[in-house]
Amino acid sequence: MFYSAALHPGWTGGDDQGGHMPDEATTIGEQDVLRAPLTLEYPFRRTTGPVIGAFFTGLREGRFIGIEDERGRVLCPPVEYDPLTGGPLTKLVAVGSEGEIVNWTWNTNVREGQPFDRPFAWAMVKLDGADTPILHAVDAPREAIATGLRVRARFAAERIGSLADIECFEPVG
C-alpha cells in the first residue's frame, strides 16, 4: 500500500504562493481525518503560605485583608513581595468591604467557571483603605456599571476560604 505526496498537495514541500495548507486533500479530506474530544481535568491543591492564607482566612470570616508595600501603599489582595522591587512585605492591614469601580468590562460570552452563568460585569474594585483594586464580578445591570460606582462585597452564606466566598460585588444603596 502506498500513498504519495499527491494525496495532500502542498504538504510535502514549499510553494511560494499558497503556503502549505491543502485546500482539499484528494484522498483523505478534512472530513475523513479523525477527531475526538479530549478533556483534561485536574484537582489542584495550592498551598497559600501565610500572606495569601491571611487573605482567604479573612474572606472566610467575611472581611478583607491587605498588606502594606514598601511605599506604604495598601495592596489588596495582599502579596508577599513589593510589586516593584520584590522585597518582602510583612505588615497585614484590614481593608473595607466597600469600594469603587476603577475599571470594568461587560462580559457577553460567559464561560464555565466564571462567577455568573449570564452576561455580567468584571470590575476592578478599589476597596476603602486599599490602594490597589481587586478583580471580581459585579451583580448589576449593564447600564448601571460605570467607573466610580460604589459597590460592596456580597459574601457567600457558606464560606470555606476561597475566592468563591465573595459571590460578587453589588452596588451600594
Binding site: W11, H20, N103, R111, E112, W122, L163
Partner: protein, 352 residues
C-alpha cells in the same frame, strides 16, 4: 557582539482551524522549506531552538513530538522555550554570541483551535487571585482597552481604524487568515463582545507555524546576498497582576526598545505583536514610533495570530521585507503573557 542575521524564513498559511494535521505534520513542511531556502545542510545547524505551549492543543510535551520534524539524528544541540518563538530566536542569538554556534534553526507553532483559546489563556492568570474566576484573555484585554481609552491614548474610532487598516493590508499577504474588513463606520455599528472591545478589535484564533534560520558574520553573507541583520534585540517584563500595573502603558516595551536601539536610526516599518487594536496604540507610544512609521504591513496579528508563533512571525515579516530590498531598517516586536506583560523588540537592518 557578533553580527547575526536572518537568512531564511518560512511560514504556514494561517488558518482558523487545521483539523487535518497533527502538530508535527503542521510544522514539518515549514522546517523543511526554511532549511532548503537557507542553503544549510540540515546536519550543519549548530543549534536548534523552538517555542510552543502544551496548553494550546492540550498535549503535554508537545515539543517532544514535533522534534521529529527536525530529524534530530545524529543528536543535535537543541533547546525549547515555553514562550513565543521570538524568545527561541533570542536564545539562538545568545548562543551565537557565546561563540558555540554560527548557525541556528528556530521554529515555533501553535494549534489554538482544539481548545476554547480565550478560556485556556485564563490559566495564565495568578493562580490564587485571578485564575479561579476564569477571566478570559478577551476580558483582560477589555480592561486594558478601557484603561488606554481613559488615558486618552486611543478611542473606539481609532481602534476600528486600526482593525480596518490591518485587515485590508493583509489582502497582499498570501499567508494571512483574515484579508478584508468592513469599513470602520460599519465596524463601530457592531455590538461589543467585552466593552469596549468589539470582535474586530481582537486577533483571530489561528493555527500555524513559522521558522527562521540565523547565521553569523561571513556565514550570513555567504548564504544570503541581503541578510536581515539583527542590530539590536532585548526583552523585558512588566508585573503580572492587573491590579498592580498601569495597564495603559508598557514600560517593559519601552525599555526593550531603548536597549535594542530603536531610536538610533529611522524606522520604515514596524511589525507589532498587538493582539488587540488598542495594544497597537500602547506599543506605538512605548516604542516611540512616529506617525510616519508603517505598522503591520502584513496585517499583523489581527490578520493571523498563531499563538506562540505570532511574535516570531513579526520578525519574519520584517526580515522578508529587508531580504526583498523593500525596507532597509525595521522593528519587530513580540509579546507574551496577557496585557502586553512581556515584550521583545528587535531592530533589523539590511546591509549598508
Amino acid at each position: 557582539m557578533r553580527d547575526v542575521a536572518i537568512i531564511a524564513t518560512a511560514q504556514t498559511r494561517h488558518v482558523r482551524a487545521d483539523t487535518i494535521h497533527s502538530e508535527v505534520e503542521l510544522i514539518q513542511p515549514v522546517i523543511a522549506e526554511v532549511i532548503e531556502r537557507s542553503g544549510v545542510d540540515r546536519h550543519d545547524f549548530d543549534f536548534t531552538c523552538s517555542g510552543s505551549s502544551d496548553y494550546l492543543a492540550g498535549q503535554p510535551f508537545s515539543f517532544v513530538m514535533t522534534l521529529d520534524a527536525v530529524g534530530a539524528w545524529p543528536p543535535i544541540s537543541e533547546s525549547h522555550v515555553e514562550m513565543d518563538g521570538a524568545w527561541a530566536l533570542y536564545e539562538a542569538w545568545v548562543k551565537i554570541q557565546t561563540g558555540h554556534a554560527d548557525t541556528a534553526l528556530v521554529y515555533s507553532y501553535g494549534k489554538s483551535s482544539p481548545g476554547d483559546l480565550p478560556r485556556v489563556l485564563s490559566r495564565m492568570m495568578d493562580p490564587y487571585y485571578e485564575a479561579p474566576l476564569w477571566p478570559t484573555s478577551i476580558d483582560v484585554a477589555a480592561l486594558q482597552a478601557r484603561a488606554a481609552i481613559d488615558a486618552g491614548l486611543t478611542s473606539e474610532q481609532a481602534m476600528a481604524d486600526i482593525a480596518y487598516r490591518s485587515r485590508t493590508s493583509a489582502a497582499n499577504n498570501p499567508f494571512a487568515q483574515l484579508t478584508s474588513s468592513a469599513d470602520p463606520a460599519t465596524l463601530l455599528g457592531e455590538d461589543y463582545i467585552a466593552d469596549p472591545l468589539r470582535k474586530h478589535d481582537c486577533a483571530p484564533i489561528t493555527d500555524g507555524g513559522v521558522a527562521i534560520v540565523l547565521a553569523a558574520d561571513d556565514k550570513a553573507r555567504a548564504l544570503h546576498d541581503r541578510p536581515a541583520w539583527i542590530r539590536g534585540i532585548d526583552h523585558r517584563a512588566d508585573g503580572h497582576h492587573l491590579n498592580m500595573r498601569d495597564l495603559s502603558v508598557s514600560p517593559s516595551a519601552a525599555i526593550a526598545a531603548q536597549k535594542a536601539g530603536v531610536a538610533n536610526g529611522p524606522i520604515e516599518i514596524a511589525e507589532l505583536h498587538a493582539n488587540f487594536t488598542h495594544q497597537e496604540a500602547i506599543l506605538r507610544a512605548a516604542l516611540g514610533l512616529g506617525d510616519d512609521v508603517e505598522v503591520n504591513p502584513s496585517g499583523g496579528p489581527l490578520a493571523a495570530n498563531p499563538m506562540m508563533a505570532a511574535g516570531l512571525l513579526r520578525i519574519v515579516e520584517v526580515a522578508n521585507r529587508i531580504h526583498s530590498g523593500d525596507v532597509s531598517r525595521g522593528v519587530a516586536h513580540a509579546t507574551g503573557g496577557h496585557a502586553l506583560q512581556h515584550n521583545l523588540v528587535a531592530v533589523l537592518e539590511g546591509e549598508g
